[in-house]
C-alpha cells in the first residue's frame, strides 16, 4: 500500500512518503498538533475505506493519549487505528529515532509497503514479554541477602509458571535457551544477567 505523511521530518530515515495521491489502499501517518484533530478529523480520515490505517506519531508516548483514551479509540476504530507507544522526537530532541525503535519503524513501514490490506502494528510495538520481565524482577530480589529473597525462593509453586513462561519467551525471542534450568538464589545472578541482556536489545534503553 502507499504511505502518506502529515508529519515533519522525524521519520525521514525510515520511510519515504508518497507525494502524489493515487487511488488504492494507503496508510496515513500523522503528527496531530491538537487533541481536536484526533476528536474531529481522525474519524473523517477513517471513513475512507481505502485508508487502511492511521498511525499517530508525536514527541510524547501514545501521541499524548491516556491509556483510557487509547483503548476507547481502538475500540471505536478497531485495527485501523494506532498511536506509537514510544515518543518520537525531532532530530534535535533526545527522543529522536534511534536503535531498536528505529529498526522497528523501518520494518513496520517495509511491512506496510508490502501489505495490501491489514497492518500488523505489533511490528512497531511488540507485546511485552511479561514472563521475562517478571522473572527478571524475581531474580533481582533473589540476588539480595534479604528475608524477602528467602520468602520468594520458598514459594516456588506460586511462580513456577512464570519461570517456565520466561524460559519459553527467551528461547522464542533470542533463539537461545537460558543457560539455567531452574531459578533460585544460586542461579538468580546469571538469570538476571541473561534476561537483562535481552531486555537491553528490545524496547528497553540503558540509562
Amino acid at each position: 500500500m502507499r504511505i502518506y505523511g502529515k508529519i515533519d521530518e522525524r521519520l525521514k530515515d525510515v520511510v519515504r512518503f508518497d507525494s502524489a495521491f493515487i487511488e488504492g489502499n494507503y496508510l496515513l501517518v500523522v503528527h496531530p498538533n491538537t487533541k481536536e484533530w484526533i476528536n474531529q478529523d481522525l474519524g473523517k480520515k477513517l471513513q475512507d475505506v481505502n485508508c487502511r490505517g492511521v498511525l499517530l506519531v508525536k514527541g510524547v508516548p501514545r501521541a499524548g493519549l491516556t491509556g483510557e483514551e487509547f483503548a476507547k479509540l481502538k475500540k471505536q476504530y478497531g485495527n485501523r487505528f494506532h498511536a506509537s507507544a514510544c515518543a518520537v522526537g525531532t532530530a534535535q530532541e533526545n527522543t529522536k529515532l534511534s536503535g531498536d525503535l528505529e529498526t522497528r519503524f523501518r520494518n513496520f513501514f517495509r511491512h506496510a509497503r508490502q501489505s495490501d490490506d491489514k497492518l500488523d502494528w505489533s511490528i512497531l510495538d511488540p507485546q511485552w514479554p511479561d514472563n521475562l520481565v517478571s522473572a527478571y524482577l524475581l531474580a533481582k530480589v533473589m540476588m539480595t541477602e534479604t528475608k524477602e529473597a528467602n520468602l520468594i525462593e520458598s514459594q516456588v509453586k506460586d511462580w513456577q509458571s512464570i519461570w517456565e513462561g520466561a524460559k519459553k519467551e527467551h528461547e522464542l525471542l533470542t533463539g537461545i535457551p537460558l543457560s539455567q534450568d531452574r531459578l533460585d538464589k544460586s542461579t538468580a545472578g546469571d538469570v538476571a544477567e541473561q534476561i537483562g541482556q535481552y531486555l537491553q536489545t528490545v524496547a528497553v534503553r540503558v540509562a
Partner: protein, 179 residues
Amino acid sequence: MLILRGMPCDAALQRGLLWHSWLKNQILKMDAGYVAHMHSRPSLLEERESFERKIQPGGEFDSRLDEARRFAREMVDGFSPAQLVDSGPLTSLSTEARAGLKSVIHGEYLEQTSIEERSGPIAGAVDELGKALSDFRDVWYQRSQAEADQVRAGFEQLQARARALHEMLGNLPEGIVLP
C-alpha cells in the same frame, strides 16, 4: 538500570505532555518579540485571544501547573517497577511475597535513580514558573500602560523559568525503571 520504553506508564506520559506539549511547544518555542507584538497589534486579535485563554487565571497554563505539581508529588512511585507487581503474571504470588518483592525492587530503584532527591527541586521549579506566570500576567493585563519591552522582558522571564523546569523533566526516565 534499564528503562522500559513503550510499556504503558502514566508518569512517562505525563512527563512527556508537560515537557514536550506544554513547556516546549507552548512556551519555549514562542518568540518573545512576537508575544510583545501580539500584545499591541489590533490585527492580531485572534492570536491574542488564543494566547490569553492560555495565560489567564484558571486558563490552560494554570491547569498545566496543577498537573505539574501533582506530577512532582507522584513521580517517584510513577516510574517505580513496583507497579509491575500488581499487574500481569506476578499477581499469582501471595500477598506477602508481592509486598516483599515490591519493597526490595522499589528500594533498589530509589537507590539507583536518586529520584527522590529530584522531586523537591521539580516542585520548586513549578512554583517558580507559577510565580513568573503571575508576574507576566500583571504586565500583560496592564494593556494600555505596558510597553512592548516590558511584555517582552516578562515573557522572557517566564521562558527562563520554563526552561529550568524543562531541563529537569528532560532528565527524568521515559518509562518504568528496572533496577
